[in-house]
């Protein structure tokens, strides 16, 4: 069973690494992210959200879904540690 899990991990990892071959080069100006996404955020963020800090605008508004689950991850981490460790005092 352990070998099977190792095999599955290795195959998935190899597939993911193979997939990165199709990524645009680092900082490629012709990549989709650089041709319209970043310029739109930089040009429109302040007028669309009235937040002078673009990082906050992207994090809280454009990427709100991402931030929501980041919060849930921290919440789950706290709850998991509490569930594992928290015990009643032995009397």
């Amino acid at each position: 069973m352990k070998n099977l899990a190792l095999l599955a991990t290795l195959v998935t990892g190899a597939l993911l690494l193979y997939g990165t071959k199709d990524f645009p080069a680092w900082g490629d100006p012709d990549a989709p992210a650089s041709t319209y996404l970043s310029p739109t955020y930089i040009e429109e963020a302040v007028s669309q959200t009235h937040v002078p800090n673009i990082v906050t605008a992207v994090l809280g508004d454009y990427r709100g879904y991402d931030t929501m689950f980041e919060t849930v991850v921290i919440y789950c981490a706290g709850m998991a540690v509490a569930c594992v460790l928290w015990r009643k005092r032995e009397e």
Binding site: S47, Q48, T49, H50, V51, P52, N53, V55, T56, A57, L59, G60, D61, G64, Y65, T67, M68, E70, T71, V72, I74, Y75, A77, G78, M79, V81, A82, V84, L85, W86, R87, R89
Partner: protein
């Protein structure tokens, strides 16, 4: 003999206790500032929440767990932890309920007409507040549990 004195005086230092007592309110104020001022400067819910949590952790280190639990009771802490996550998801669901998309704050303009763009700004603030609450109480909960091995009484 000297070891006994050390054990006796450990954690009873007047300097540490007095300076922590002076520092904690300012650390909390700074944490709130970082959350609220996230629109204009580096900061936001995560950073401010950690600073707020650090104030209570400092209290627990300088005094002991009981003192920090006097100022932040375990139940209130758990309430904050859940409330924060509920604020974030609640704002998102509310946007969907009043007819917009999930987490599209401009839809909240139909509830309280402040202007759609202003609602984007205010929605981000509400969401950051929720993040701050959850991060603060998660940090405190982690410290309490890890430092006392789950007993939640003595601490380090």
């Amino acid at each position: 003999m000297s070891r006994e004195i050390n054990e006796h005086t450990a954690g009873e230092d007047l300097l540490i206790k007095t300076s922590v007592r002076l520092m904690v309110p300012f650390i909390q104020l700074f944490g709130l500032y970082v959350i609220v001022h996230g629109h204009y400067s580096p900061g936001g819910g995560f950073q401010g929440g950690v600073i707020l949590g650090a104030a209570f952790i400092l209290l627990a280190i300088a005094f002991d767990l009981k003192i920090s639990q006097k100022y932040m009771p375990v139940t209130v802490n758990a309430l904050f932890c859940n409330l924060g996550a509920c604020i974030f998801i609640g704002v998102g669901v509310l946007c969907a309920l009043v007819g917009g998309l999930f987490l599209d704050y401009s839809a909240l303009d139909r509830l309280l007409p402040l202007g759609e763009i202003e609602w984007h700004s205010f929605g981000i603030f509400l969401v950051e507040l929720g993040v701050g609450f959850t991060v603060m109480s998660s940090m405190i909960l982690l410290y309490w549990n890890l430092s006392s091995g789950g007993a939640m009484d003595e601490g380090l």
